[in-house]
Symmetry: none
Subunit: 184 residues, 4 copies
């Protein structure tokens, strides 16, 4: 694995473990089995490590959505199976919490997060329109928005509860989204 990737993974590990503010460059370096100075050969500063980390998550999400065939429309809905990025989401929860929190105060992070959010939203809406050409875009957008809120809520709850999306939670959300979609 190349150094860039190596450091990024180490950073991810540290930040998941210790949180955004408490993962020091030295922590990351140690975790990557690399000297502290080397990190600055690959990243301009700590901020740009975060930036890369966020970009990675976003790209990961996008590629998940692009690669996998869409679910059979007749199958019972399972957004955790459907949106495959949920496999990763579990891992990313810690970071996303911190990043969302940091984005509250740091304009650079905020921009990143908002861009990522918009990019994902556009992507999702585009897909839905392909699948349901007859449906009004505003309805799609609204529906997506609700799902987004729910997912963000799930993330927060996961952080709160114990970091696991268990079956109970999974089924509950599915039911809600299902109802939500068919109510419209």
């Amino acid at each position: 694995m190349n150094r860039h990737e190596l450091i990024l993974r180490a950073a991810r590990t540290c930040m998941i473990e210790k949180g955004f503010h408490n993962a020091s460059i030295k922590n990351i370096a140690a975790c990557a089995n690399v000297s502290a100075g080397l990190i600055y050969r690959y990243f301009e500063n700590k901020d740009s490590i975060i930036e890369a980390l966020v970009s990675d998550i976003v790209n990961n999400m996008k590629s998940h959505m692009d690669d996998k065939p869409r679910r059979d429309e007749n199958q019972p809905l399972d957004i955790f199976q459907t949106s495959d990025f949920f496999a990763d989401l579990q891992d990313n929860i810690f970071m996303l919490m911190d990043i969302a929190s940091a984005a509250t105060r740091n304009p650079r992070y905020k921009k990143l997060v908002v861009q990522a959010h918009n990019a994902l939203q556009d992507d999702i809406v585009r897909r839905e329109k392909q699948q349901h050409p007859e449906m009004d875009e505003s309805i799609i957008r609204t529906r997506h928005y609700v799902i987004t809120l729910l997912l963000d809520g799930v993330i927060v709850q996961c952080g709160r509860k114990g970091y696991v999306i268990d079956d109970e939670l999974r089924q509950m959300i599915n039911a809600i989204v299902h109802k939500l979609i068919h109510a419209k």
Copy 2:
């Protein structure tokens, strides 16, 4: 106002303004018009200030709900008016973001937050049962859970977007919750 309270308020102010990690003890002391050293007579360390702060928010929410009469069932639904703690929520968003994030890593915060969450949920469910004695408890719980998810989602979105619960957002959520409730 006693010193304990005074310091806590100052801490709240600072943390809302500067965020969890960037509010220093000195900031708080200055804001409370108190010496930095004195803070350690009332709190063991910085963490326990935060702990107290979280407790405060939780208690605040509880008391809000206890004090205020419930809305007229025939009024159009507005959860931001209904759940009165939303008046505070706006102010607390910054802190809640940080706290949710910190709770991810700090078991003491987590315990606090989870307890609070459960207490609130029980409280709400109890009330709803009073109002809708005929309704199945599991439905009430589910409904509450969804609303919780949505609210957490709103908090995250607010952090992301620009810290304001504007009318558009407000109406959208209201519509969703309304639909949600009547769909069941």
Copy 3:
């Protein structure tokens, strides 16, 4: 001695010994028998220590010139005795070298040094005019300018030779300045 003064003296000592760039905050702290952190209670940053140091030197020079009675006009000229600041100058040579050098690139230092220089020059010219009311100001200025050049030259030479203004050097300069003054 108060801490401010104490730290300043330590800084002076370190910078004389190790030079401007190589005197670290830790060096200074150790030399002052003080923790590194404490320095920042008394000075905003390293730069402002320098600033204070330069100001000190300038003020020292000025007060030397103000306090002491002027030489007897009939005595043989000895600028090293006359301008009493030369007692200090010896000590200050190292620092002045470094500062002049740093001023080459750092606009803030340059401003300081230039201001100091102008202040001293004005002071000297004013005095000379008192002593020689009949003399043309431009002549006084020119004469002072030459002396300044010579003194700066002496400083550099001292740095080069071995840090001592020995008798040979002293007499030589005196003779030159003497001739210079009487040639006009």
Copy 4:
């Protein structure tokens, strides 16, 4: 051009531009279109680059004086034209400031500078004696010494004022030296 020379020139360029302490090995390497590591094949360390640089300047001065025919004795005196190394001096001022400063602390630099100074002085005196065989050597030495002081003073002033030897400064110095020479 051989590597040694190439690196040395790059070092000179960087140090003139950024100053003694702020010119990094990497800067120099980049400026020489050479890898950072290679520099250590030609120089033991950063200090010895500087040492070589000082030597170069000194040699340059010497060769300037050797190569060029002396001015016509009847021409009006212009030491900036006369002493041809003044063409370079302008460029070298930055470095000379730093070097003079560094020489204060570093014995190796000091030795170099003192030797150079003596060599130059001897060289100049020898020439002057050829031109003015009737003049007392001590007078020549003294005169040269004063000029040296003035030039060093000029260097310092240049650093202080704004790095340019402008016409005013030039004429003033010339007048002084002229008077100085004819007063004797």
